[in-house]
């Protein structure tokens, strides 16, 4: 177990994760296989994330779930007016999770979860057409969540716990569309900060309405990752008092938005149907405001995200003693509003198709495999609020330019995990 944990942490060192908003809904192989439903599914210690209130209903004394996903995500961009094209460098992201639950007694259970619900890595070719918005970005956040689950009545339980979030960001972009040094190298800035941490909490409830019907609700609070005194490194800046960009510190707030999930599951013979509704309170993400430590003009990138819903459907079939088959679908609404489509989170509405299988090895160990295909339509979109000019000739300051074109994303996510029950 220790080895597996170590391995996943090592993975994280090179982790690149898919940018969807920057919420990455890959918090359990069993759940993902069912369209990432789970707020009302009593299945495994994945409940630490999906609904800690349900932990108390688990049948085993100890339940452990560990797994990871390999995210194969790419974004293509083209602008038919100019002929410009771009494609992100396809890296493999590896969000992971590890959950433990422990039944203390008949009415009390504890849980601990480590998972990565937010993250984003997008790498474009340096100096590509949208390089004034992003060359590359890597955002990581790990949540550590101890939980408690208390049975109030036989049919109703509550749960929750504090969340400790720790993360880091590395963001590189060109200063604007044209600024170069004497040799024609584009002026750029890198913002880097690691070890940013903050606290949040989660609370949930579960009702076993009948023998077959379970209802759940889960809320996870917003956590704001505040970079303070991060490193802002400027490169290829002209030697001129008109371009006062020197290496300095920066402060910036990045909200990891709150999420509310409501759902139900219904069991019929060997089948289990699940439905989850997520509301992610993305409206917290109004702008990415970077305040520099010296005279460098502050940078404000407007985002104006809106709250976004996700509708998730999952089906489970216990095919045999050894095999459980799962499938699912979800519709994921984009938080990005028209005119705010920025290439560092190039996300439009998507349809997720999921499938998975659990294979029982003996009575205690299960191997969970899942697969997600996230289908995006081509989208003509633009980001219309880039402020032109930063210290250039006066006539260029405070003029918005637009960057747009056609985007097409594709995401494939195979995942593998184990569940151990004692």
């Amino acid at each position: 177990m220790k080895k597996v944990l170590l391995l996943t942490v090592l993975f994280l060192a090179t982790a690149v994760t898919y940018a969807g908003g920057y919420r990455v809904s890959l918090q359990g192989n069993k759940a993902l296989a069912m369209g990432h439903t789970g707020v009302a599914v009593i299945n495994s210690s994945e409940l630490v994330f999906f609904n800690p209130a349900g932990l108390v209903y688990l049948e085993n004394k100890l339940s452990v779930s560990v797994g990871a996903h390999g995210v194969l995500a790419d974004v293509s961009y083209q602008n038919s007016a100019t002929g410009e094209t771009a494609m992100t460098d396809g890296g493999v992201g590896t969000p992971f999770y590890a959950y433990v639950s422990y039944q203390a007694n008949d009415w009390l259970a504890f849980g601990l979860g480590i998972y990565t619900p937010y993250g984003s890595t997008v790498t474009y070719q340096d100096d590509w057409a949208g390089s004034h918005l992003v060359n590359n970005i890597a955002l990581q956040a790990i949540f550590v969540q101890p939980s408690v689950s208390v049975k109030i009545t036989d049919k109703f339980s509550v749960g929750g716990g504090p969340i400790y979030a720790t993360g880091g960001v590395n963001f590189n972009k060109n200063l604007n569309r044209t600024l170069v040094d004497l040799d024609g190298n584009r002026s750029e800035v890198t913002l880097e900060q690691t070890g940013i941490s903050n606290w949040g909490w989660t609370a949930s409830a579960m009702l076993k309405a009948s023998e077959n019907l379970t209802v759940g609700v889960n809320y996870r609070s917003e956590i704001i990752l505040s970079a303070e005194d991060g490193d802002a490194t400027f490169e290829n800046v002209p030697n001129s008092p008109l371009t006062p960009f020197a290496d300095t510190t920066f402060n910036a707030d990045l909200p990891l938005p709150a999420e509310l999930t409501m759902g139900l599951s219904y069991k019929h013979n060997d089948f289990l149907f699940a439905f989850d509704y997520n509301m992610t309170y993305w409206s917290a993400y109004e702008s990415l405001a970077v305040v520099f430590g010296n005279d460098t003009p502050d940078s404000v990138l407007l985002r104006n995200y809106r709250d976004a819903s996700t509708y998730r459907f999952g089906l489970q079939y216990e095919a045999s003693e050894s095999f459980t088959l799962r499938g699912g679908y979800y519709f994921d609404e984009s938080p990005v509003q028209s005119g705010y489509f920025a290439p560092e989170t190039p996300r439009n509405d998507s349809n997720g198709y999921t499938a998975g299988i659990t294979f029982k090895v003996g009575s205690r160990l299960e191997i969970d495999a899942s697969f997600l295909y996230l289908q995006f339509n081509e989208v003509d979109a633009s980001y219309d609020y880039f402020v032109e000019g930063s210290g250039g000739p006066a006539g260029l300051i405070n003029q918005y330019s637009s960057f747009g074109g056609t985007y097409k994303s594709s995401v494939f996510v195979p995942g593998l995990g184990i569940t151990y029950k004692l």
């Binding site: 390999g70 194969l72 995500a73 790419d74 974004v75 293509s76 083209q78 602008n79 038919s80 007016a81 100019t82 002929g83 410009e84 094209t85 494609m87 396809g90 057409a129 569309r177 044209t178 600024l179 170069v180 004497l182 040799d183 024609g184 002209p238 030697n239 001129s240 008092p241 008109l242 371009t243 299988i357 294979f359 090895v361 191997i367 495999a369 697969f371 995006f376 081509e378 880039f386 032109e388 250039g392 000739p393 006066a394 006539g395 260029l396 003029q399 918005y400 330019s401 637009s402 056609t406 097409k408 994303s409 594709s410 494939f412 996510v413 195979p414 593998l416």
Partner: protein, 507 residues
């Protein structure tokens, strides 16, 4: 277990193979853009400094990469365009050496003093581009800075030996295929399938930028007798221009001919105001007292029949409280120096007054006059102020009379260009109208407004004559529009907002 692993590997393989998102209609697909009736596989550009990508008073590497032919060639690549070669200089300094000796200065950059006030300054550094260490021509970009229409057909214009004695062009000498080759022959040897020709600007521009220091050679059909600042005779222009078009279309090439913009469209002539001498009432009165004798003498010159009453009115000097027109020497005025000497004036004063008048509102004061105006060239004589007591010399003012000569010749050239474009069914790029529109109204682009205002307008580089990369991108888009219309093509244009303007740098 084994099966599960196989299943996973299978899924992974599917994922890796089909991961790359593809567009239904990708711009890289054949046929997304259309070449129409033209063949862009071998594009050759002929012209002068504008075609070469000259900017900021020099030809330098990054400027060449943003030349309008190079920008067009990049867009042609979407419709079957081939490689486009350019005689790139060796550095971004822009200066030129001849056998190790620097013969031309470095480019200008926009510097700023400690208060943030910007000013153009030559970039420090020793250039490495040497005329003698020749590039192997010909190149697709055959733009030669300084070339006039007839130079493209002048043998020996690329002679390295001729550079030192002023009979050859140092930039062409870098890549001429031989000492006796012509620009046109070198270009034609490339067998272009498509060409652009933008020549003739310097046939009037040298005269204009020198404040009309040259001679209007209209009527003189022998260009070998012309000086560098002279206006080329339109018949000479017609002969050499049609020879160029004939040679270029001989192999069936399509192309586009570009006409000559007005000099009044460029900041070199529009930045320094005609009124530039601030005086208070007392000083204006004192200066007027100095010119009372001259103003009085004008009446006697009219009475003596030496000048007309009209000319006397033009020559009368009058300073007022406020911003005044500087005094200047106008070589188109009657030279009365000898008469004034005869009337008893000392020769120095007589020469100063010989062709004197104040600048008028319809004159154009050139950019380089900004450092001369108000200066005191002789520190021992604090009253000797340029524009007040010392006239601006001829080179600093393009008078309305001189402007008329430029405009007349330019109109004649443009009529010839338009006629040849029609006769040969070639594209005709009305660069004159395009530039006039930028000067008058500006051109809206994604992120701003492109204007002809010096430094801040974004269209013109620090020499006030040649475009910035953004100005060249606008030029390329203008020409692509013409090509698309003429040849039923659909070549994509560029976003000019992504092209830079002036370079900021403090030495």
């Amino acid at each position: 277990m084994k099966n599960t692993i196989k299943f996973m590997i299978g899924l992974l393989a599917i994922g890796l193979v089909s991961c790359e998102p593809e567009f239904e209609n990708a711009v890289s697909d054949e046929g997304f853009y259309d070449a129409g009736d033209a063949d862009f596989s071998n594009y050759v550009a002929l012209g002068n400094s504008l075609t070469a990508g000259y900017a900021d008073g020099a030809l330098y590497m990054s400027g060449q990469k943003d030349s309008y032919p190079n920008i067009m060639a990049q867009q042609f690549s979407f419709v079957g365009g081939g490689d486009f070669t350019q005689p790139l200089t060796s550095d971004d300094l822009g200066g030129l050496l001849l056998g190790g000796q620097q013969i031309l200065g470095n480019r200008l950059v926009l510097s700023a003093d400690e208060n943030g006030n910007p000013f153009p300054a030559p970039l420090d550094g020793m250039p490495t581009t040497d005329v003698v260490s020749s590039e192997t021509g010909p190149f697709n970009n055959m733009g030669v800075p300084g070339a006039k229409s007839y130079h493209l057909v002048t043998p020996g214009y690329g002679s390295v030996a001729g550079v030192a004695n002023g009979t050859a062009n140092p930039w062409y000498a870098r890549f001429a295929t031989s000492e006796s080759s012509t620009v046109l022959a070198d270009a034609a040897s490339l067998n272009p399938t498509f060409f652009s020709l933008w020549i003739g600007n310097n046939d009037i521009l040298g005269y204009a930028t020198s404040g009309g220091s040259g001679v209007d050679q209209t009527g003189n059909l022998d260009p070998s007798t012309y000086g560098g600042n002279d206006i080329t005779d339109p018949n000479v222009f017609a002969a050499v221009y049609s020879a160029q078009v004939d040679a270029l279309v001989a192999g069936g090439a399509k192309g586009v001919l570009l006409n000559i913009p007005d000099v009044t469209s460029i900041p070199y002539f529009t930045t320094v105001p005609t009124q530039s001498i601030p005086l208070d009432a007392a000083t204006a009165g004192a200066v007027n007292a100095q010119f009372a004798l001259y103003n009085g003498a004008l009446g006697q010159l009219v009475a003596g029949g030496f000048i007309s009453a009209e000319e006397a009115a033009i020559r009368a000097i009058n300073f007022v409280e406020g911003i005044n027109y500087p005094i200047m020497t106008d070589v188109d005025l009657t030279d009365v120096t000898a008469i004034l000497i005869g009337a008893g004036l000392d020769s120095e004063t007589a020469a100063l007054l010989g062709q004197l008048r104040q600048v008028k509102s319809d004159d154009l004061v050139v950019l380089t006059a900004s450092s001369a105006l108000g200066s005191v060239p002789d520190p021992s004589n604090p009253l000797g102020i340029v524009g007040v007591s010392i006239p601006l010399t001829n080179q600093f003012v393009l008078t309305s009379t001189e402007q008329d000569r430029v405009a007349t010749a330019g109109a004649a050239y443009n009529a010839i260009i338009e006629g040849l474009a029609a006769a040969n069914e070639l594209g005709y790029g009305d660069m004159k109208s395009a530039l006039a529109d930028v000067a008058a109204n500006g051109a809206v682009y994604n992120g701003g407004l492109l204007t002809s205002t010096y430094v801040t307008g974004g269209a013109f580089s620090l020499d006030g004559v040649h475009p910035t990369p953004r100005g060249y991108a606008f030029t390329a888009n203008t020409i692509i529009d013409v090509i698309n219309t003429t040849y039923n093509a659909s070549i994509p244009k560029v976003d000019i907002g992504t092209y830079g303007t002036v370079t900021l740098h403090n030495n």
